[in-house]
């Protein structure tokens, strides 16, 4: 259940490690150096090597086009969509989501808000979007590409999700409970893999998102991400969906209150960190 892999953005550590490796292998203690490099460090080295040239950029391009192009039965673009910073404001919007929206009277994450805009502004029936909300090898997903575009516009912006609104506070509290909710044939919860520091599943380091602020920040700000194993850019709703699949849970409804609450919990845990996505993952 390797759900969130630790970031690709640990450059300083990388350089330090690379230097160590170099220094050690040049020394007479070359044999000892062999074991000084751990497999986790080798994986970090691999991630560093692929960090340049992220195909997620293509999904950002696709999403931007979709955002600006008139579409749906109403032949409207999404340029009037309010993502929480006013109609049409995309820059920095993702860093403040989830948020409470007065018009829908609920807390919404990015994808549920895009769903609102696509249905209200463009007139696309909700079921048409939610029937297949995730990209597949055969077919791209508009809502997913739109999300990739929007998150890219928060690159370099510090995460600041406010819990001042009581509804957001409540969403956070419910999300925390869902994180710890153990069920299904394997008794798994998110916490099974993501509540201990310094452990890994197979070769992948697992971030502790319950009590390690840095882990939570790195994990959250690296999504959405292009997954090289799938050759697709994956949204945050997809990330949660696939977590639950591997937890042997039934499927969470797309953009449901449960997934938004969990997102709120994780997003708040990442507050203060610079958003660096869309990322590039295994």
């Amino acid at each position: 259940m390797a759900i969130f892999y630790q970031g690709d953005q640990m450059k300083n550590k990388q350089i330090h490690q690379a230097f160590m490796v170099l220094a050690l292998s040049m020394s007479f203690a070359a044999v000892a150096a062999e074991s000084a490099v751990t497999d986790s460090e080798r994986i970090e080295q691999y991630r560093e090597m692929i960090s340049d040239g992220n195909p997620a950029e293509f999904d950002e391009m696709r999403g931007e086009e979709l955002w600006k192009k008139p579409g749906g039965p109403k032949m409207a673009s999404l340029e009037k969509c309010n993502l929480g910073k006013g109609a049409g404001v995309v820059k920095g919007a993702y860093a403040e989501l989830p948020k409470y929206f007065k018009d829908t009277r609920r807390v919404q994450d990015l994808e549920s808000r895009l769903l609102t805009c696509m249905t209200t502004l463009q007139g696309i029936p909700e079921e048409e979007i939610t029937a297949k909300p995730f990209a597949s090898a055969k077919k791209a997903s508009d809502i997913s590409s739109l999300a990739t575009y929007v998150v890219g516009q928060s690159k370099g912006v510090k995460m600041k999700v406010s819990t001042k609104h009581p509804k957001v506070k409540e969403s956070y509290e419910i999300g925390k409970r869902i994180f710890n909710y153990r069920a299904g044939p394997y008794d798994f919860g998110c916490s099974t893999c993501h509540a201990t520091s310094g452990v890994r599943i197979r070769m992948q380091d697992l971030p502790n998102m319950r009590s390690n602020k840095k882990d939570a920040q790195i994990a959250y700000t690296g999504w959405p991400a292009y997954r090289v194993s799938q050759g697709l850019t994956r949204s945050f709703q997809w990330r949660l969906n696939d977590c639950f699949r591997q937890q042997r849970f039934p499927e969470p409804k797309f953009a449901s209150e449960a997934t938004i609450a969990l997102t709120t919990y994780l997003a708040v845990s990442a507050n203060g960190a610079e958003y660096v996505g869309p990322g590039l993952k295994r």
């Binding site: 340049d52 040239g53 992220n54 195909p55 950029e57 293509f58 391009m61 090289v228 050759g231």
Partner: protein, 104 residues
């Protein structure tokens, strides 16, 4: 026509570094669908990069190059504002050409 590429070209101390990311499935022809049918081979076979009408890199690809191919190389010369052009053809005869402006 194929999907657009992302090309970045930057000159430093008289050497231009070019990074190219292409959008292509790069199907090996060995992968099977869930129902067992073979997905036909579909991959970029040739890539060419040019600067001022001069070829600065030529590549031939086989099926083993990763999906959304990435290339990085360096050539002597180039100055900010000039263009680098990259094009590819695949085994189905489809192709694509894009250009990028060299940055300083």
């Amino acid at each position: 026509m194929g999907n657009p590429m992302k090309i970045r070209a930057a000159v430093k101390e008289g050497v231009t570094e070019v990074k190219i990311l292409m959008q292509h499935e790069m199907e090996t022809g060995l992968r099977k669908e869930a129902d067992g049918t073979l997905v036909p081979a579909w991959f970029i076979t040739e890539v060419k990069a040019q600067y001022q009408g001069r070829t600065v890199l030529e590549a031939q690809f086989g099926q083993s190059v990763s999906k959304n191919p990435y290339l990085m190389f360096r050539f002597k010369g180039g100055s900010a504002g000039e263009k680098v052009t990259v094009s590819w053809v695949d085994n189905k005869g489809d192709n694509r050409a894009d250009e990028a402006t060299i940055t300083g």
